[in-house]
């Protein structure tokens, strides 16, 4: 693999600079049944095609972001920082990756 991944901060960079934690999953809410839990823990779509993934710019700006990648061609269609689930308004400036 040698494709370039467009970091939302840094622009296109060698994929070696990033860590990927795989496709975006949804953590169950409340108390999942054992079946729901196992599905969340172990089952992945593993799509041959477009896939939403978590990426981390480990050797660069250290940003966590999501990217949509075609697993057949490694073409990355877009990369973005997901919106906060709940609005967070920090009253002091904080460390921003």
């Amino acid at each position: 693999m040698s494709f370039l991944l467009p970091c939302p901060n840094c622009g296109p960079r060698d994929v070696d600079e990033f860590s990927c934690t795989g496709e975006v999953t949804v953590r169950p809410k409340g108390s999942p049944t054992p079946r729901e839990l196992r599905s969340y823990l172990y089952f992945r779509k593993n799509a041959a095609g477009l896939q939403r993934e978590w990426w981390y710019h480990r050797d660069g700006c250290e940003l966590w972001f999501q990217a949509e990648r075609d697993t057949r061609t490694n073409e990355v269609l877009r990369a973005w920082v997901p919106e906060p689930v709940a609005p967070v308004v920090p009253d002091t400036p904080r460390r921003h990756n």
């Binding site: 494709f3 860590s19 839990l37 689930v85």
Partner: protein, 869 residues
């Protein structure tokens, strides 16, 4: 030997240089290649072939074919036709027994032929099985290329250079130059690479773009990545756009005797006459499918070579060609029964576009039956093909697949590199290897040093004819990098290892520490006597460098809540200045790391992780916060701080001497985190006890590492201070039954079965791993991590099986001899039913059963009196 000065010759007749061939001096003109100088000296046989040891001479003079491979200054498989003479080189033949003229192994050509058909070693050399090593040794000796001198020092320094460019043009022929000029005129950053020897950087002048030559693009990868070999430097290009102008390779014709010395391709004639002013022979026959043969004939004529015959396959149908030779040299050429005296046969079977690089990036390759060549179509978006590489090869005839004729005698080679004949391919098909990829692997056709440049098209066309299919439906075999053979040293690059060292590292080395790798860190295993170092901690005072601990800051109004969600334990209710043990787990309930968490103030937590887990924990924290987006920031400060642990009964006395802070049990309690100046350095003191004795873990700015260590060693001298390494630390922590994540736990271990159920705060809402732990609770305990006390002085190896009635029921995860307790101790997993103090188990040690008893409380100081003292 030399012709009169030629208009475009590349030799400097005024300057002579000398090198050695087989120990004998050879003179050369400055500017020419080793190959041309050898030819000028009268040498015609340049190598012996791979399998049959047939004499081979110059064929392409372009660095493609295997015929001129020699060993130069200990480097095997150098194509001397394209390596300029520097002077002083020691050049020698390879794969010969005797000399190039008289190779004793050439007997395989005469008598071995019928006994060594394609794939013979798969069939005839398999029994008796024990004899294979001998067969193998013989085969490896008998066949092959140059040998690597294993005792040879690293002779060449190889560097890797990373480059970015807007447009990378591969190939410096007219089409490549044109494309480069155009892109440069548009203001782009342009680099052109050419494998030479035709293009000279200074012949282009100030072109407005960079030229790398001689240099070879080894392959095309996604993301516009193109490694380019340029002598001792591997350029790793990233290009927005790639222009492939790799031209076409002249193809040989297939006829009996097509490998004889004196059979050449037009490119050889061009370089010999134009560049090196050499007369390639005395009388020539030319057989050609395109204009290249005519151009060669013109050159030869001008060089004074008698042209016996020119046969243009576009105008004249020829059924049979045969090169007749004596001692491997061409003496006569037969065309459809007519014989011509000649010592030179120029063959031009048309030119095959060099599409390999394009195919590597996913271009489609299609057969053009009208021209008998494969051409690239549908290129990837960032790639362009121009010139001959794109299929622009001029008017050409489709030569016959073979020209054996009716009474074809003599070997007709499809693949010169691997000595594969047309009969070998036919035989492979007859044996059932009826797919081109299978036949390729069985016969090894196209798998030699030329990488199929001279045999790919020919072998596919032969295959198509023999299987009665057409080339288009067979298609090509997979094009793989490298496009040109490359030295492994070039791919390996510089020999550096990215090791992390603490700021105290050199002090450990000064003290004679044995250094080991732990993850990416270099750490002291011990300073020579692990047992004594461990004992010294119990008796007086030990110091260990723990700067490698992962260190994270979690800051913000929701920092405590964030940690509560990540860990099974609770941290939001901690008082500032206090510490808690922390075990990290994932949602599957598996233990992934451990460490301590200190609360520095309401919104600031200081998290330590294992030394090797720091990176993974940082990512884990960052990932969850990218999901949750809580008001908490995570900062890795691992390298910012050095840390040492001073432990032992004399630790408090030492601290009293080093700091004004009250270090009594009231001043700094067990599990307190306090700020203080120690030896004048700003520190965070964590009172924790991984090694079981009264201890202070002191964290301070890394640049003070050596100063701090030196000062503590000096101040503690009369207290018996002695450094201890990782190995004694492992003994000490085992005495306390403190787990090592990854050693005592694996990817199946959870906190409940790892004997830490107390750490789970079930009254919390939700935390990572909660649901999985609930399932463990529901199913009940299966196995448990316990202490093991070994009897009879044994220390079973880590990983030893715990057995009952001949079956494995568990395993030992840690084991050491404890000098303090004077017995072997360990930890291991046993069935939950055996997890009670005093339970007896058997451990398999070298086939014997050794007894051990289960312990649930730590071996040393089970009530923690030392820790809290």
């Amino acid at each position: 030997m030399r012709l009169d000065p030629q208009p475009s010759e590349r030799i400097d007749r005024a300057e002579m240089v000398r090198f050695f061939f087989d120990g004998q001096p050879v003179t050369a003109f400055r500017g020419e290649t080793i190959g041309s100088a050898l030819f000028a000296s009268g040498r015609r046989v340049f190598s012996r072939s791979f399998k049959y040891h047939r004499p081979r001479g110059l064929l392409c003079c372009g660095g493609h074919c295997p015929n001129c491979m020699m060993t130069v200054d200990g480097v095997p498989n150098v194509r001397v036709c394209s390596v300029p003479v520097r002077g002083g080189e020691r050049v020698g033949p390879q794969n010969v027994l005797g000399s190039l003229q008289r190779d004793l192994m050439s007997v395989t050509d005469k008598i071995g032929g019928p006994f060594t058909p394609v794939g013979f070693y798969y069939r005839t050399m398999i029994r008796p099985r024990w004899a294979w090593p001998y067969y193998e040794k013989f085969l490896r000796h008998a066949a092959g290329l140059g040998k690597v001198d294993k005792r040879h020092e690293r002779s060449t320094r190889f560097d890797t250079e990373h480059r970015h460019t807007d447009v990378l043009v591969i190939g410096g022929g007219s089409a490549g130059l044109e494309a480069a000029r155009k892109a440069a005129a548009e203001g782009k950053r342009v680099t052109l690479v050419d494998e030479g020897p035709d293009l000279l950087p200074d012949s282009v002048g100030d072109a407005g773009f960079e030229i790398l030559a001689p240099a070879r693009a080894l392959g095309l990868w996604e993301g516009g990545l193109v490694p380019v070999e340029a002598g001792p430097v591997l350029y790793r290009f990233r290009a927005d756009k790639i222009v492939v102008a790799t031209g076409a390779t002249e193809q040989p014709l297939l006829f009996p005797g097509n490998d004889l010395v004196g059979v050449m391709l037009p490119s050889a004639i061009r370089r010999m006459v134009d560049h090196w002013a050499l007369k390639p022979g005395n009388a020539a026959v030319v057989v050609t499918a395109d204009d290249r043969g005519w151009e060669a004939a013109d050159r030869l004529r001008a060089a004074g070579v008698h042209i016996s015959e020119v046969a243009d396959l576009r105008e004249r149908k020829i059924r049979q060609i045969a090169a007749k030779g004596r001692k491997g040299h061409v003496r006569a050429v037969e065309l459809d029964g007519r014989s011509f005296e000649a010592d030179l046969l120029v063959m031009s079977g048309g030119a095959q576009p060099n599409y390999s690089l394009l195919a590597q990036l996913g271009a489609k390759i299609e057969y053009d039956p009208a021209r008998g060549i494969f051409v690239p179509t549908s290129l990837p978006p960032n790639v362009e093909a121009v010139g001959a590489a794109a299929g622009d090869v001029g008017r050409t005839a489709v030569p016959a697949v073979t020209y054996n004729g009716a009474a074809g005698k003599g070997k007709c080679f499809v693949c010169l590199c691997e000595d594969v004949t047309d009969k070998d391919v036919k035989r492979a098909i007859a044996e059932g290897f009826d797919s081109i990829e299978l036949a390729k692997r069985y016969t090894t056709v196209t798998m030699g040093p030329c990488q199929g440049k001279l045999c790919h098209v020919g072998s596919i066309r032969l295959f198509a004819r023999e299987t009665e299919t057409d080339e288009a439906s067979i298609g090509t075999t997979t094009a793989r990098p490298p496009w040109a053979p490359v030295s492994l040293g070039l791919l390996a690059g510089r020999p550096h290892e990215a090791g992390a060292r603490t700021s105290i590292h050199h002090r450990h080395k000064d003290l004679g520490a044995k250094i080991m790798w732990t993850g990416h860190w270099r750490r002291p295993h011990s300073y020579g006597d692990a047992q004594a170092e461990a004992k010294n901690v119990h008796e007086s005072l030990g110091i260990i460098d723990v700067s490698t601990l992962g260190k994270l800051l979690v800051r913000g109004p929701e920092a405590g809540a964030f940690l509560d969600r990540l860990y099974p334990n609770r941290f939001s209710d901690m008082k500032p200045g206090r510490i808690r043990y922390a075990v990290l787990q994932n949602d599957a309930g598996r233990i992934t790391d451990d460490g301590t968490i200190a609360r520095l103030d309401d919104e600031t937590f200081y998290v330590t992780t294992t030394s090797t887990g720091a990176g993974a924990v940082l990512r884990w924290f960052g990932w969850w916060n990218a999901v949750w987006r809580m008001d908490a920031d995570i900062t890795d400060i691992t390298g910012a701080l050095a840390a040492v642990n001073v432990a032992g009964p004399n630790a408090r006395t030492l601290m009293e001497r080093l700091t004004d802070h009250d270090v009594s049990n009231e001043g700094i309690k067990y599990l307190d985190a306090k700020h203080a100046h120690v030896a004048g350095v700003p520190c965070l003191i964590l009172r924790i006890g991984f090694v079981g004795e009264l201890g202070y873990e002191i964290h301070f700015p890394s640049p003070y590492g050596e100063y701090f260590w030196d000062t503590v060693m000096e101040v503690g001298k009369d207290l018996g201070i002695r450094p201890f390494g990782l190995e004694p630390q492992r003994i000490l922590r085992l005495e306390k039954m403190h787990i090592l994540v990854g050693q005592d736990t694996d990817s199946e271990s959870n906190v409940i079965e790892a004997a830490m159920p107390w750490i789970v705060k079930w009254d919390k809402d939700d935390f990572v791993g909660r649901w999985s732990l609930e399932l463990v609770q529901e199913r009940g305990l299966q196995n448990q991590l316990v202490g093991l006390e070994f009897s009879n002085g044994t220390v079973p190896a880590e990983g030893s099986q715990i057995v009952r009635e001949g079956r494995s029921i568990g395993r030992v995860t840690s084991s050491r001899f404890s000098p303090e307790l004077v017995r072997g101790i360990g930890m291991g997993w046993v069935p939950a039913g055996l997890a009670h103090d005093g339970a007896q188990v058997s451990i398999s040690v070298n086939g014997r059963l050794e007894a051990a008893s289960v312990r649930l409380k730590s071996f040393f100081d089970p009530d923690g009196e030392h820790l809290r003292s």
